[in-house]
């Protein structure tokens, strides 16, 4: 809903009635309305089928699980809107977990400093991928495919593929603790959402991402620093992946090179379900929120309903395909008008 309130750019002072009818019109023409309906439908179906689904505890656990790919999905939205992609986020998360383990366990680095080092390393790696794209024209799909392999390997090298137990009570709190009854990772999810939606909607940088993804040549002629935008979005998603890795590390209480397998799939899927176009220029954080909640609720519901784990995979794949079909169909409809 935030999106609609912001979409209002009326110059004249609207009257109360025109404001209401305007709001109604925006609700109807809002792109996310279809996804929202599907999300509500999913909730209704799952609540009817499983008595546990709508309980506060279960909803909070959905939110906690959503955090483990949602934070990356929000950042991924910016990357995809910019017309790029990052498929190395899973490996990035695994590497940050391993790095934290090595720093803390093997070298006795204080936790806050170790976290800072990990985030800086992630930002540097993201900047590297972005620079490969911006300065050498290497497509981000290829650059991050290389990183997907290399970072994973690096994580395993660092840890010899053994978990490094981190024995710190207060660190564990960051992964599985609760603040005012809300799981801490869920708070991270909400925090990331707020920060990124503000960036996307209210900053010159955020709007420039849309301009670059919508038409990079035009953005360049308009004086937007296209290279800097591309590098920055790749840095943001790498840091988001590192944060995800750190949260998982806290949850498992060990530095681990085997975490976050398939993270890129859920993050990209949530973004696409949320209405972003891989060709760039189109997509919204609000859409991605719904994509994230949809996937998280679906996974949770399938577990509650005892769906065969292999069948779950098929369902996840089908959902992505259907979402893309719906988007394509809708763009075609509007372009015909």
């Amino acid at each position: 809903m935030i999106e609609m309130a912001i979409a209002e750019t009326a110059v004249e002072q609207p009257t109360a009635t025109s404001r209401v009818s305007g709001a109604l019109h925006r609700v109807r023409s809002w792109e996310g309305i279809g996804l929202l309906s599907v999300l509500v439908l999913l909730y209704v179906v799952l609540s009817v089928r499983s008595p546990v689904f709508l309980t506060t505890d279960n909803q909070l656990s959905i939110l906690q699980n959503a955090a483990f790919f949602g934070i990356v999905a929000f950042a991924m939205t910016l990357v995809i809107v910019a017309g790029e992609i990052d498929i190395s986020v899973g490996s990035m998360a695994a590497l940050s977990s391993s790095m934290l383990g090595v720093f803390v366990v093997k070298h006795g680095v204080p936790m806050p400093l170790a976290v800072l080092l990990v985030l800086l390393a992630a930002a540097a790696i993201g900047a590297f991928a972005g620079a490969m794209r911006a300065y050498f024209g290497v497509p981000t799909f290829i650059a991050t495919l290389a990183l997907y392999l290399a970072l994973k390997g690096l994580a395993q090298l660092l840890t010899n593929n053994f978990p490094l137990p981190i024995d710190q009570e207060e660190f564990f709190y960051w992964g599985d603790g609760r603040f005012l009854g809300v799981p801490v990772p869920a708070l991270y999810l909400i925090g990331t959402f707020v920060v990124l939606i503000v960036i996307a909607k209210y900053t010159v940088f955020g709007r420039s991402i849309y301009a670059v993804g919508g038409n990079a040549k035009s953005a360049n002629l308009s004086g937007i620093n296209v290279r800097r935008i591309k590098i920055l979005v790749m840095m943001i998603v790498a840091v988001a992946a590192a944060i995800t890795g750190l949260l998982q590390t806290a949850l498992l209480a060990s530095g681990n090179s085997t975490i976050a397998v398939g993270l890129e799939f859920d993050a990209i899927a949530a973004t696409i379900i949320g209405g972003a176009a891989l060709s760039g220029g189109k997509g919204s954080i609000v859409g991605t929120v719904m994509g994230v909640l949809f996937i998280a609720a679906l996974l949770n519901g399938m577990v509650l309903l005892n769906v065969n784990p292999y069948a779950q995979q098929v369902v996840r794949g089908a959902v992505v395909l259907v979402a893309v079909l719906v988007n394509v169909w809708r763009t075609r409809k509007t372009s015909l008008e």
Binding site: T9, T203, N215, I224
Partner: protein, 499 residues
């Protein structure tokens, strides 16, 4: 010639696009082996006729008869196999495939799933033979020079043995000697019985290649004449029609005003040799020259879009070294591209936001968007340029070409740019919108802005420009002032031979 059924016979063809009447009641008849030139301004109806005949779009009413039989194509593929092939202005070749593969694309036959290379080579060879050209069949098209690619393109159209071959601006990318080769080739094809519809802007080619010509204006056929039936002046008048609706610009002598932008000895290898001129404050300077004379490259060189540039550019008396778009914008010099869709607008963004792209972090705050300041600037700009949009939020991609162009110019104005480099700002927009763009540029000049105006439509020059620089063979040549800069005179100078 005995009385035979014409190859192509169109009756009462009519086509509307939304509110635009693209073609009204057009009759068009073509004999076997005839070369017919289609003449007319942009938007006069030439392309619409071509699209209807070649099945790209369906007529609203009217009939098309091919060899005496009524036809109704449901797509370009059907028209092609039915006997009508088109060579479009934009190449449709795949650079990574060989000449033979390109020529036979879409009709590759296979044996047990393997491409029948022999058949493919035979077909391609036959098409090239009909052209009388010899290009190695195995060569990758991407490695051929443009002129040869054009020949491959034509061979590709011949492979289906068309009755009618449509050539849309076939010479626009060719130099003089290549044009000669192509014209001779068209004559040869006609002699083999192929009928040719030849669409061109280049008046001087028509008598060399065509038997007759049809002139279009505002979606109607003005006249069909044999070559030699009308003087070039009369044909030009028929193409132009009444031009009283746009008043010629009053020429302003700005040579006393300070120099806003000056260019000294600008050179780009293979395109520009030595270009120098001064642009004064409040002046509109036209750049005239043939396609390929380096007009676009010149603007790109000034604006810092190229890195292979020698020579110097001065803004307000200071040389700008290491030019990049952002550096030029910081000096309040903006450029609009000739490729409005590809490099001008961001189609999926709102019109208002499109207008602000340059203003942001320049005249608007650096980091945070200020909603009130933004909507005020959006509304001001949209209002000042009379951009027709339902609201600033309407996606700019859904506007008409003229309004898109105004939005692109508006982007520079919203950011308070002083010097505008306008590359073909009137390309592909309707006559009414063109007049608005001319008026806009004149108003800006009166307000002290300077502009460089590049257009391939020479008749626009005297309407907009105070002075016109003629570009020929990579050098800036004559400078025409005010009334001297009429279309005929510019045309003569752009075609002049220097050696």
């Amino acid at each position: 010639m005995d009385v035979v059924v014409p190859v192509l016979e169109c009756r009462n063809l009519t086509k509307r696009y939304g509110t635009v009447q693209a073609l009204t009641d057009v009759d068009f008849t073509l004999r076997r082996g005839e070369v017919r030139a289609l003449l007319g301004k942009n938007g006069a109806g030439k392309s619409t006729l071509v699209n209807l005949v070649s099945g790209a779009v369906q007529p609203d009413s009217g009939t098309i008869r091919l060899n005496g039989k009524d036809v109704r194509w449901d797509g370009p593929g059907a028209a092609r196999s039915g006997g009508i092939s088109v060579v479009h202005q934009e190449f449709s070749l795949v650079p990574g495939l060989t000449v033979a593969e390109n020529i036979t694309m879409g009709r590759w036959s296979s044996r047990l799933g393997f491409i029948d290379q022999e058949r493919l080579q035979d077909d391609a060879r036959r098409a090239l033979d009909q052209l009388g050209e010899d290009i190695p069949l195995w060569q990758l098209v991407g490695s051929l020079p443009i002129a040869q690619q054009q020949l491959v393109e034509i061979a590709k159209a011949l492979v289906d043995n068309p009755d009618v071959l449509i050539l849309d601006e076939p010479t626009s990318a060719l130099n003089a000697s290549e044009v000669e080769v192509l014209l001779a080739l068209v004559r040869r094809l006609a002699a083999t019985g192929v009928s040719v519809i030849y669409v061109s802007h280049r008046m001087n080619e028509i008598p060399l290649v065509a038997d007759a010509m049809t002139v279009f204006r505002d979606g109607r056929e003005v006249a069909t004449l044999g070559i030699g039936e009308a003087s070039p002046e009369r044909v030009a008048a028929m193409i132009a029609g009444e031009v009283t609706d746009v008043a010629a610009a009053v020429y302003h002598d700005r040579s006393d005003a300070p120099v806003a932008l000056s260019v000294r000895g600008l050179a780009v290898d293979g395109v520009l040799e030595d270009v120098s001129f001064d642009l004064h404050e409040g002046e509109v300077l036209g750049i005239a020259g043939f396609l390929g004379s380096g007009r676009t490259e010149l603007l790109e060189a000034i604006f810092g879009l190229r890195h292979d540039v020698r020579g110097s550019v001065w803004v307000n008396g200071k040389e700008v070294r290491g030019r990049r778009p952002r550096k030029m914008l910081a000096r309040r010099v903006a450029m609009t591209s000739e490729d409005r869709k590809g490099a001008g607008i961001v189609p999926a963004m709102g019109t208002g936001e499109n207008v602000l792209l340059t203003a942001r972090s320049r005249v608007l705050p650096k980091i945070w968007l200020r909603r009130r300041a933004e909507s005020r600037l959006q509304a001001d700009t949209i209002d000042k340029l009379a951009i027709r949009t339902s609201s600033p939020a309407q996606e700019v991609g859904t506007l008409s070409g003229g309004n898109q162009q105004k939005a692109v110019i508006g982007r520079a104005l919203a950011a308070e740019m002083r010097v505008l480099l306008l590359d073909e700002p009137t390309r592909g927009i309707d006559v009414h919108a063109k007049a608005q763009v001319y008026a806009l540029i004149r108003e800006l000049a009166a307000a002290g802005h300077s502009a460089i105006f590049v257009s391939s439509e020479l008749e626009e020059m005297p309407l907009v420009c105070d002075r016109v620089v003629v570009l020929r063979a990579g050098r800036s040549r004559e400078v025409l002032t005010g009334a001297e800069s009429n279309a005929e005179r510019i045309l003569a100078l752009t075609m002049k031979e220097d050696d």
